[in-house]
Subunit: 380 residues, 2 copies
Amino acid sequence: MHRSLSLAALSLAAAAVFATTAWAQAPRREPAVNDTLASPEVSSDHRVTFRIFAPKASEVTLTGDWLGSTPAPKLSKDERGVWSVTLGPFEPSIYIYSFNVDGMAIPDPVNPRIKLRARTSASMVEVKDDTSAFWEPRDVPHGAVEINWEKSKAIAGETRAIWIYTPPGYAKTTGRYPVLYLLHGSNDTAAGWTMAGNANFVLDNLLAGGKTLPMIVVMPFGHATPFGVPAAQGAVANDALFEDYLLQDVIPTVEARYRVSPGRENRAIAGLSMGGGQSLRIGLGHLDLFSAVASFSGAVPADFETRFAGLLKDSKGTNEKIKTLWIGCGQQDSLFGRSKSLADLLAKYQVRHIFYPTDGVHNYTVWRKYLAEYAPLLFR
Amino acid sequence: MHRSLSLAALSLAAAAVFATTAWAQAPRREPAVNDTLASPEVSSDHRVTFRIFAPKASEVTLTGDWLGSTPAPKLSKDERGVWSVTLGPFEPSIYIYSFNVDGMAIPDPVNPRIKLRARTSASMVEVKDDTSAFWEPRDVPHGAVEINWEKSKAIAGETRAIWIYTPPGYAKTTGRYPVLYLLHGSNDTAAGWTMAGNANFVLDNLLAGGKTLPMIVVMPFGHATPFGVPAAQGAVANDALFEDYLLQDVIPTVEARYRVSPGRENRAIAGLSMGGGQSLRIGLGHLDLFSAVASFSGAVPADFETRFAGLLKDSKGTNEKIKTLWIGCGQQDSLFGRSKSLADLLAKYQVRHIFYPTDGVHNYTVWRKYLAEYAPLLFR
């Protein structure tokens, strides 16, 4: 360690290096046009203008999680090389989008609000109303989301992060809380329900309105096998290993570190898309551990009827065990048929459930609403 | 709410929709080549190959936080339209990089490990050694990082996130802990010290090795005024408002929510780059609140000698108040002169300090080391 003992006078030349500007972490090499480019720009009438500086590109289109099967909108280029398109008006929400520049799918280069993914990344744009929505931070007590790292037993060699919401005042109380295990979709991460789903603010607002009981919400990373190469393989293998991970690592970690209420009546499991399938598999497969199960726009297991034959046939016993079996899906979602078929199957076997079809496609605009509908039903 | 009461038989047609594949959250429109593209790819000899599929681009270069003033390496294109370059070997670390595709600065489209920024974003690549480094997760007890949201008093209308590290076992203990306020650089976010700096793992490892006392580390968002338009203005205004935010919001929130040891001897403040300047301004400006101050590659205030004239002239009194004044900078950093000049100035006035010049440029490879050097000196 060097300790300066020099008493040399400070030269005027040295003083000149005390510049006033802030200093970026890396040399800025972007063209100047990006320094002032606004993207996305949300107008008061809830229209959004998306812009990207791509002077040499020949075609730029937009991918958006609100588009469903609609063709990708094309952007048009101005004389500076800035491509833009204005869309909407949008229903207030947080939307996920990316640009496709000559075949390259990329997040918005100047938008800091990134949707992290298991592979690739995208951007987010928030459209706000005059009054803050049920998923926005209101002037109410806020819970916190804690990132816990733990070396996994089930997934050898990995130290994995679990994101865990604790209700307002958790640290100052001594009570125990029920737990909702809340799972994300394919190509998402453990941060998804917080950073895109605003699950923490949804819960804060419900609690402030007296609509839910305080609960801990556990958000693990749903990809247990390496994701994405190739993207569509390995879903079944992943679901099996993720189940081991949840049972051997996540639940024991949560129950060792947090003040949780014991027993199946204080554990619920819910998830969106891939996570909806995982919730059904794990929740209904372990009714000794869980008393409530939900699938939001779920990737319902293909073998549901054979996998859960016993549960379906003994519907009286099943109905005694499950406090809430909740199945929601947007009718414009390409997965809608799978939820509808599951609801029909449960109805056929007289397994009690709530089927909650809504408007909507396959996005967090729908899932935030489902969380706000589902959480108030829990632990009553 | 719709509750399905239908007992209609499940049709074979409906059963066909139970597909086995996982389901991405948004329609995948990327070209197939991206599904199997590996980027970045780290070889066992610590070389890294960066790749991007950009079939129509005319020039692709790489920006990297290890490059300093070195010209941006050019990538070359293969017959598939994939551009690549292999660099290194690298010293084990986590590096930040981005591509510049025909003037567009973008993160790596297929790399999920994103460096979040206040404006724009980039990617990260980790080069590991055979044995886990001081900044990697080892098989030791892990602390947690909790994201706390609080409506700001100083910055009207904003609900801001503060990232807070608590040492292993915090929730199970009843003791109080000293607090290090740890600030990030310009264009970084409250997540930076955790997601790029691995501050949590650095502290976990130091603690497991008996090298530090357990402490709470508070990482607020250092941009109090809107960042980036235009990028280089407003540093002084930001520093003033950030000081208000830290004093009026961050410290009171931390002291209300966490079990912290009281008094100035249990508060330290350190930061990198812009955050180094903020630490000097706030820490030395409030010796009633802080007893230890550090600047890592800091943007030293231009008016240091006049701003702290009283403190410099009363060096005997100052030396009694400050337990550790620590100034580190890489000698290949373009900011090195500012730290050197500060050290000379302090030496001239006989203000006790540690000047710690090292090899290195302006990046987290250096700042992780500085945190590991500095934290053991605290609260002794």
